[in-house]
């Protein structure tokens, strides 16, 4: 027997059922759009931080502790001249406060001795203070651009410095005057250029804000916040699709026919899982595709799959698997189809809420009771893994414990479900 026959058959049944299709594809879409819209209304512009990448003149917060320094001023001007940025100057306290209240996602700190050290050809360090929940890819972009501007300035300084040195040498020793021709100057400039590449005068580091962990408010980053959660919510709702299709099969008597066919019961259950599992993967791909294409058109931030496509793919597969196994568990525990659409669907919504699929997990986890409860539902590990991959730029090495827990849930669900399910 070939599992594809089961997949084709169940898909044929599924796609004849308008309601089921609506549930799987259209509803998540509506949810994402409505929630993103609501969130945007309630948070004003601050929430739209992920659109920084798109907007030509996205604001970048800068704290200049060296306001009198000429080089610092020039640096800020140069930064502001970048097509991607509009510099907004902050006092340091105000910047920290804004970061804490998630009005900004990150700020650039120019140290007090910036100009004076550079003037003497000494290295300085710029700091980007980043909210821990800020979108990692946006941070990367900001770092790159700041780095570019800093390199230009330090090159300029080093060349100027080189020429000044040559001028001094020339003044002290007129004998070598003849050797200061254009060629020599070019050569000098080139050497300086090389040197500045290898040992840049200005370096940048990234750090978290000084505020204590607890005071900080998590960053709500519209699409990046809602899409992964809703994806998990709806993927787990499809557990009831598995359960319903199994119970329907039993009720119609078709299951009895299948049990009388030369197929083991385990293979039979697996063949009932496979169509929904694959459909769930399609559903995930669809949600992300919409998140990446349609949301920006509607004026929300675009959705990326994070820094590690592999981590995203594996997380998606494990989540889909866990939800399908949950479907087998439900089929093994409930008696009627009515209970699947009633009680178990309600429980899936509650578990989704606890698991941070409706409000992001870091919000749920800040409430003591919910935090404990949330650890009991697989959705928590699913949403956390997604958020880590999608918005925190983490990869497989960081998230594998969550995936392992989800696999353990899957095995448990499948085992209990198959041993409890009555084929008659």
């Amino acid at each position: 027997m070939n599992i594809w026959n089961f997949i084709k058959k169940d898909w044929a049944i599924f796609f004849k059922d308008r309601g089921a299709v609506l549930w799987l594809f259209i509803l998540p879409l509506i949810f994402i759009i409505i929630f993103s819209g609501l969130a945007r209304l309630s948070m004003g512009d601050a929430g739209a931080s992920s659109s920084e990448e798109k907007d030509d003149r996205a604001p970048i917060a800068v704290v200049n502790l060296d306001p009198q320094g000429a080089i610092a001023r020039q640096f800020v001007q140069d930064l502001d001249r970048q097509p991607a940025f509009r510099v907004q100057l902050y006092e340091q306290e105000a910047a920290e406060e804004s970061l804490r209240k998630v009005k900004i996602a990150r700020y650039l700190l120019i140290p007090v001795d910036f100009s004076s050290r550079l003037a003497q050809g000494q290295a300085v360090t710029l700091t980007i203070v980043v909210h821990p929940d800020a979108d990692a890819s946006t941070t990367q972009t900001v770092m790159r651009l700041v780095n570019g501007v800093a390199n230009d300035i330090s090159l300029e300084l080093q060349i100027l410095d080189g020429i000044r040195q040559m001028g001094e040498m020339q003044a002290n020793n007129p004998a070598v005057q003849s050797s200061f021709n254009a060629e020599r100057i070019m050569q000098q400039a080139k050497e300086q250029f090389e040197r500045s590449r290898l040992t840049p005068l200005i370096s940048i580091n990234e750090r978290a804000p000084q505020t204590a962990e607890k005071e900080r408010e998590p960053l709500l980053d519209l699409s990046q916040s809602f899409v992964p959660g809703f994806c998990v919510l709806f993927v787990f709702l499809s557990a009831s699709t598995v359960a319903r299709s199994l119970l329907e099969e039993r009720k119609s008597g078709a299951l009895r026919r299948l049990v009388a066919a030369p197929i083991t019961r385990a293979a039979l259950l697996a063949s009932k899982m496979a169509p929904v599992f694959l459909l769930t993967l399609v559903q995930i791909a669809f949600i992300f595709l919409v998140g990446a294409t349609l949301l920006p058109v509607l004026g929300f931030g675009s959705l990326s799959i994070g820094q590690s496509p592999l981590a995203w793919v594996l997380t998606s597969i494990v989540i889909a698997l866990c939800s399908t196994c949950l479907g087998i568990l439900i089929a093994g525990l409930v008696r009627t189809e009515g209970q699947v659409s009633g009680l178990s669907s309600a429980l899936l919504w509650v578990a989704g809420f606890l698991g941070g699929a409706i409000f992001p997990p870091f919000i749920i986890q800040r409430m003591p009771v919910l935090n404990v409860l949330s650890r009991l539902v697989p959705q928590s590990y699913a949403t956390t893994a997604y958020y880590d991959v999608l918005t925190r730029g983490k990869d497989l090495l960081d998230i594998w414990p969550n995936l392992l827990i989800l696999l353990a849930f899957s095995a448990l669900f499948f085992f209990v479900g198959t041993s409890r399910f009555k084929f008659e």
């Binding site: 027997m1 070939n2 026959n5 084709k8 058959k9 044929a12 049944i13 004849k16 059922d17 119609s252 008597g253 078709a254 299951l255 009895r256 026919r257 299948l258 049990v259 009388a260 066919a261 030369p262 197929i263 083991t264 084929f423 008659e424």
Partner: protein, 330 residues
């Protein structure tokens, strides 16, 4: 003739309740074997065990030489099941249903298409094959239900009450299909029903099942012969055991016995007027016509009042009544 099926002391318990109480029988290849019994007799339970849908509580059975519990996959390759309830995907077309049920037996491509064409023809539904099953009439659904058990050409086919709720036209189609399968393809068939006419028409041998047990198993001819010269049921007032002895000594009467009072007789009426109570007497006759004449004479002689009189026809219905004192269907 080789044996295709052999059941030995099969028992199925649902909790404390024994639905099948030690059933044994065997069946030859090419036979159409009837299971006749009233509602709840245990026919479906028995078939479910034989087809691997239910585990027997105890006992064993072999199909095509394979043990049903130890070699289920080998057994399942030989058999086909047409469940009592419709077992189809209503939103899919007849053809899609048959394609799927054929494919789970490993059929594919051209050979699958050929077999599906073939069974559609057998159940006379070729012209409606692309319609969704849910749009079919009850009889047509039944026919698709049967076809779905045939696609893989099983050697042994279990038909569990295939004609329930079927119009006469579809019923005839089904009978023809069953006969054709058996005669032309040599398919062995277990046919379950509580319609004795069907069983009489189709089956070589019949097991009469009641309360989880086979109470008689033989060819229809031999079963009917159990009625001997015929059976007469007569209801008489003011009858007693002394009269019973005299009645059983009448010429052409082989035996006479008083049947237990039927459930519907009201006990309070009996208590008030015991003399008017009706006794139901079963008379097995050597020759029913002669025995009847003698019976009338006897009634006249003893001045008895007849409450009811029934001469059982020589058919399975009568055999069932004769064996159990119950009607096959109420």
């Amino acid at each position: 003739m080789s044996t295709i099926l052999e059941a030995n002391q099969l028992v199925k318990k649902y909790g404390e309740f024994q639905a099948v109480k030690g059933v044994s029988f065997s069946m030859d290849e090419g036979e159409v074997f009837g299971l006749l019994g009233p509602n709840g007799a245990g026919k479906t339970t028995l078939i479910s065990m034989l087809t691997g849908v239910l585990q027997p509580t105890s006992g064993e059975a072999r199909i095509g030489g394979f043990d049903i519990t130890r070699e289920p996959l080998q057994v399942k390759r030989l058999i086909g099941l047409v469940p009592q309830d419709l077992a189809l995907y209503p939103t899919l077309s007849a053809r899609a249903n048959l394609n799927f049920f054929g494919s789970i037996y490993g059929l594919r491509g051209a050979s699958l298409a050929e077999r599906v064409d073939d069974v559609l023809q057998i159940v006379a539904l070729s012209d409606r094959q692309n319609d969704a099953v849910e749009k079919f009439s009850g009889g047509m659904k039944r026919r698709v239900n049967i076809a779905a058990g045939l696609v893989h050409q099983p050697r042994l086919l279990f038909l569990d009450e295939p004609t329930v709720g079927v119009d006469p036209q579809s019923r005839n189609h089904i009978f023809e299909s069953v006969q054709k399968l058996n005669r032309e393809r040599g398919t062995s068939i277990v046919y379950t029903s509580h319609y004795m006419e069907e069983v009489e028409l189709l089956c070589n041998r019949v097991a009469i099942v009641d309360q989880g047990q086979i109470i008689a198993l033989d060819t229809i001819k031999n079963l009917v012969a159990m009625l001997g010269g015929g059976v007469i049921h007569v209801g008489l007032r003011q009858f007693d055991s002394a009269l019973l002895v005299k009645l059983s000594q009448q010429p052409a009467v082989q035996s006479a016995e008083i049947l237990p009072a039927p459930m519907e007789s009201k006990p309070d009426v009996d208590a008030e007027a015991p003399e008017s109570a009706i006794s139901l007497i079963k008379i097995e006759a050597l020759h029913s016509q002669e025995a009847l004449v003698n019976l009338i004479q006897f009634i006249n002689d003893y001045d008895l009042a007849i409450a009811s009189l029934e001469i059982l026809e020589p058919n399975l219905e009568s055999v069932f009544l004769h064996l159990t004192g119950k009607k096959l269907r109420e």
